[in-house]
Amino acid sequence: KQWYQRRVAITAGSERALKLTTDAIDLNTANYTVWHYRREILKALKCDLEDEFRFTAQVIESQPKSYQVWHHRRCLIQMTKDPSRELGLTESTLSDDAKNYHAWDHRQWVLEQYGLWDGEFDYIEMLLQRDLRNNSAWNHRYFVVNSTDKWNHETVKKELEYAAKYIRKAPNNESSWNYANGIIKKNKFSYDEFPEFIDFCIKLDEDKILSPFLYSTLADIYQASGKSKRAHELYEKLKECDSIREKYWIYKQNLL
């Protein structure tokens, strides 16, 4: 009986303590110490964490940029091994703010831990259809390809075609150019391994598309193939039409 009474006292005390942390979090979501104590209490109480998932989702709704609440969510998943709510949660957060850094970080972590890759390309495509300038979605695409496939010639070629589709729609969208150039450079390929992409860029230039991203891509392509004079001319063009970066274009010219 004494043991039982003691257990009740501890649990009741802990429940009160849990309520205290709720109040403290309400006053200051960034109090990382209180969140830690809350986790200790939750572990001691050994309760079903269903309510805690609900609570965290509410805090995320009102404070979607708090490091602490997202980390707390990660801890809950580690405790319960249950990621079933997370894709829905991050999708919901991202529908309010499609670039929320914490939401993307959390989504990536869940995908990687639990291998929930199915449907992810469709999700990215949906986001890009909504806003093809969403750089977070582009970054996420790189992450998904990187995690599920190898960056071999075939993959890069396919991804270049994907990027080209979006470049055509909006030639002044930096995100799609960064993706195309990035997948080549980061994976240590060279442009001449992708003649279709080179032709695509040349054609855009012939069609008189005005885009500093096109010019700098072409300049890199020409430099790589030894056509320094053509690269030099493009840097001249860039010094004029993208003059905020004049010093950089001069630097690149001097490297030729």
């Binding site: 670039k99 850094y101 790189y142 990187n146 990035g182 980061k186």
Partner: protein, 374 residues
């Protein structure tokens, strides 16, 4: 863009860009000194960030060339002592856990004071223990006990251990390799491997790698290209990520990348123009002066946003970097020149020199014990 456009058109209408346009030093100082003394109840959300408030305000006052009365410095010393955790590191407030970010802020705040006796408040042995405890096997750092991992941790640990002379190989084992994994296909760095290239995290990654002497693992041309493209061609200020909005604080996080890249490139034979940075220093200063000053003192994210001490600190830090290339560039008025800040630590240069001397003497005398036993 339209709020910025209104400002630039108004300025071009009334004055020309080469007429004087002042940095309102006195008004900013009034705001800062008031903030140091007391903060209203609205600041509850920063209740776990009090060392940050110390640093943001002290550093801003230093940049503006003003000083803090010794009596205030001693009060600050007392406060920072009160948030130093008995087991090492500094907390967001009393009765909290130590945190790497508040530790960085507290240490930077201490070194932003100009009385060396204040430096002694730092318990170096315990601090070293705290940093070691936050270090993970894969090289990353956890921000606090049971806390999150991201690249800010490596930066905070690298700065603090360098300035206090408590660095060790063990403390940074695998760290450079972990940081290198944070570089994305865009060239900037994210918070963790896989996340989007972002100005704040990129600055932390680069500065940490420089402090660790491990810059060979960076794809430098890719980083430089990304960083140069973060300056907004219309506004002149920097954005944090591709296709996002300009924000005054990135004047430092993104602007700060350039002196760091210069430092690395100067080590190699290069065709670098050593007299200036590779971004448009004038345009950045124009953005800060015209668009980021609050008329009643303090600086802001962008027109229409309210002032705060974080933006005051980082707009001024960015302004300082933009002014202090080898050849000075001072926009608006010669009197706008502010003090130079150290691009790696973001503490005013004159203090860093003092700190490094003090810190070297610490490790020679009682510090040797730490180095040998661990």
């Amino acid at each position: 863009e339209s709020s910025v456009e209104k400002i630039y058109s108004a300025c071009m209408g009334k004055t020309r860009f080469n007429d004087t346009f002042p940095l309102n030093k006195q008004r900013h100082l009034a705001y800062l000194h008031k903030g140091l003394k007391k903060l209203s109840v609205n600041f509850e959300c920063l209740d776990s960030s009090r060392p940050w408030l110390c640093f943001w305000i002290l550093h801003s006052i230093n940049l503006l060339g003003d000083s803090i009365p010794k009596s205030h410095q001693l009060l600050i010393k007392e406060f920072l002592l009160s948030v130093q955790h008995p087991t090492g590191g500094f907390c967001g407030n009393v009765n909290q856990l130590p945190h790497l970010a508040t530790t960085y802020a507290a240490v930077s705040a201490v070194f932003s004071l100009d009385h060396e006796e204040c430096y002694e408040l730092i318990n170096r042995e315990n601090l070293k223990r705290f940093l070691l405890a936050m270090h993970n096997n894969d090289g990353s750092f956890t921000m606090h006990l049971d806390g999150e991992v991201d690249v800010r941790g490596a930066y905070c640990a690298a700065v603090v251990s360098t300035l206090c002379s408590i660095k060790s190989d063990e403390m940074f084992h695998n760290t450079a390799q972990w940081i290198a994994q944070c570089q994305t296909y865009e060239g900037g760095f994210g918070s963790r491997p896989g996340t989007e290239a972002h100005g704040g995290y990129t600055y932390c990654a680069l500065a940490a790698l420089i402090l660790l002497g491990e810059t060979r693992c960076i794809n430098l041309p890719l980083l430089l290209d990304w960083a140069c493209h973060r300056q907004m061609r219309f506004e002149g200020g920097f954005q944090g990520r591709t296709n996002k909005l300009v924000d005054g604080c990135y004047s430092f996080w993104q602007g700060g990348i350039f002196p760091l890249i210069h430092h690395i490139l100067e080590g190699e034979k290069s065709t670098l123009d050593r007299s200036s940075w590779l971004f448009h220093q004038q345009a950045l200063q124009e953005f800060i002066l015209y668009c980021c000053q609050c008329p009643s003192g303090g600086l802001v994210d962008k027109p229409g946003k309210s002032r705060d001490f974080y933006h005051s600190c980082y707009c001024l830090s960015g302004l300082s970097l933009a002014q202090h290339s080898r050849e000075k560039v001072v926009v608006g008025d010669a009197a706008n020149l502010i003090k130079p800040t150290h691009p790696v630590f973001n503490v005013v240069l004159e203090n860093v020199e003092k700190v490094l001397v003090w810190s070297a003497s610490q490790s020679k005398t009682n510090g040797n014990k730490i180095v040998e036993n661990d």
